[in-house]
């Protein structure tokens, strides 16, 4: 059995005091896995990723990273635990150049910064070609690639992705998913939040369905896809 990279245990969290959006969520991501979180709008999917990153107030439950408890770790230290995060909105620094975006992404690396930058450029030639351009001038798909690269530059063991395909053209979606697949094949675990549940579940090893801040269903990707209850709750709407 693979090692557990991330474990969330009964997470309760919200944006303001005494108003929990998440009401006891459990979730596990193992080494090299792709795990997706689906659920209706407002279910708390983005909120869960923010709670993992320490961006919001966690009032109950525990987080374990590689088996060690890391509840309430300051956000800027979480990247050192090998977790990268690409938020749903504002996922690049628009007024910074592409190169500066990557430099900020590699803030926590000291000496290896140059080397990592070179590797990212080798992997994404688009970014190398336009490194002096402002990130704000990139197209949606190019931005998403930069956002992935920014999170990837520290060589995380787990990447949290919040709707990486939102607002992209079909061609760009395919490209982004193929990049995510490559990243996963290089040994990085992926925790993916997606609107497009069919695509996400068929792409994932396992999935969790969230509803109103709680775990509704979980299981293997294809099992969830065919589960009548999941179809009722969620997939039926598509």
């Amino acid at each position: 059995m693979n090692k557990t990279v991330l474990e969330c245990n009964g997470i309760a969290a919200g944006y303001v005091k005494d108003l929990n959006i998440l009401q006891g969520v459990d979730l596990v991501v193992k080494e090299k896995e792709i795990v997706s979180i689906i659920g209706p709008n407002g279910a708390g999917k983005s909120t869960l990723l923010k709670a993992i990153m320490g961006l919001i107030n966690v009032s109950g439950g525990r987080f374990y990273i590689n088996g060690i408890e890391k509840t309430n770790l300051a956000t800027h230290k979480i990247v050192n635990e090998g977790i990268g995060y690409v938020p749903q909105v504002a996922n690049v620094f628009p007024s910074l150049t592409i190169e500066e975006n990557l430099e900020i992404g590699s803030w926590s690396l000291n000496k290896q910064q140059k080397e990592s930058l070179k590797q990212i450029y080798d992997q994404f030639s688009l970014l190398k070609d336009r490194k002096k351009d402002k990130a704000g001038n990139l197209s949606g798909g190019q931005r998403q690639i930069l956002a992935l690269a920014r999170a990837l530059i520290t060589k995380p063991t787990l990447l949290l992705l919040d709707e990486p395909s939102a607002g992209l053209s079909p061609v760009a979606i395919n490209e982004v998913f193929s990049i995510i697949n490559d990243i996963n094949e290089s040994g990085v675990s992926i925790l993916l939040v997606e609107q497009n549940a069919k695509r996400a579940l068929s792409f994932s090893d396992r999935g969790y369905v969230l509803d109103q801040g709680r775990n509704a269903y979980q299981g293997k990707g294809e099992d969830l896809l065919n589960d009548p209850r999941v179809i009722d709750l969620y997939l039926g709407k598509l």
């Binding site: 961006l55 800027h76 995060y85 504002a90 620094f93 628009p94 007024s95 803030w107 520290t154």
Partner: protein, 305 residues
């Protein structure tokens, strides 16, 4: 009109330095700091206190006598004091407000209250009357095609050097990049491993040091008054908005333009005998420019997605 160009450049550089400070703070923290003027005044009052001769009564309270330090040293110390003061404001006031998710408008009102409070403390304890730095008078000379005293020329040169330095710092250093990153998104900065609280603290300190420097300049050229910062605050806002809110380069140029316009307008024919109204022309021009370029001269329209 042209004889006012030297004065215009001087006022311009003061407003420019102060505008850069204001826009740096706004960019990184989204705080519109009405107490900015009081930090400017602090720079001047601290310099006055540090540098005036010991037997000279600067402060109304008899207990405090000035320190009689070297003038240049006093200026440097005053700028440092302003930086510490700004850092303290962040630590005891603005950080707790931020952690409590207090909204931007409420914070704006806090800075207005703070401005009034500090300003009246100055009135109570410091210089209720107009005072001058302990400097000997100098004759104006002609440099190229504008007139100013040698000391004021020094102010101008130091001002320009400081701005170049700030520009380089923001563009090329790790700290400058981090400041710009936090300006774009605090959340994304912190998930990238930046301790954004530290960056915001450093921003408060640098912004306040620049404000203090503007105060030292202003008092060197003119005089020290308890409300001197408040008096030029509107011009500083005008410079910041004119250049484009949140761009440091814009604030630099915007401040310079406002300063020059204010001074040069004194020389307009219909302004004769109405120097009190000199702000009208500059602010009128600012409004007209904004009508045609709402984002300011150098501001960029944000691409929303």
């Amino acid at each position: 009109m042209l004889d006012q160009l030297g004065n215009g450049l001087l006022l311009g550089i003061i407003i420019s330095v102060a505008s850069v400070a204001l826009s740096l703070l706004y960019g990184v923290t989204r705080i519109v700091n009405f107490a900015h003027g009081e930090i400017i005044a602090l720079g001047a009052i601290a310099t006055l206190f540090l540098s005036s001769p010991i037997d000279y009564r600067v402060l109304f309270l008899d207990k405090f006598s000035p320190l009689g330090l070297d003038f240049f040293l006093s200026c440097i110390l005053a700028v440092i004091i302003c930086g510490l003061f700004g850092g303290l404001l962040e630590l005891i006031l603005f950080r707790p407000l931020r952690k409590g998710n207090v909204g931007n408008i409420a914070v704006l009102v806090v800075t207005i209250g703070l401005s009034i409070f500090i300003r009246h403390l100055y009135l109570l304890f410091a210089t209720g009357k107009v005072q001058n730095f302990p400097l000997e008078l100098q004759r104006r000379q002609t440099y190229l095609f504008f007139d100013m005293t040698p000391r004021n020329l020094k102010v101008l040169i130091i001002g320009i050097l400081v701005m170049i330095l700030i520009g380089l710092l923001l563009t090329y250093t790790k700290l400058g990049k981090a400041m710009r990153a936090v300006r774009d998104s605090e959340e994304l900065s912190s998930v990238s491993g930046i301790n954004s609280d530290n960056i915001i603290l450093i921003t408060w300190i640098s912004s306040s040091m620049l404000a203090g420097l503007a105060g030292v300049f202003q008092a060197t050229i003119n005089d020290v008054r308890w409300n001197m910062g408040f008096l030029i605050l509107l011009l500083i806002f005008a410079g910041t908005v004119l250049g484009g809110i949140g761009t440091s380069f814009g604030a630099m140029v915007g401040g310079l333009i406002i300063g020059i316009l204010v001074q040069v307008s004194v020389g307009l024919p219909f302004m004769e005998g109405h120097t009190e109204a000199k702000n009208a022309v500059a602010l009128g021009i600012m409004i007209v420019i904004l009508l045609f370029r709402p984002q300011g001269i150098f501001g960029q329209k944000e691409r929303i997605s």
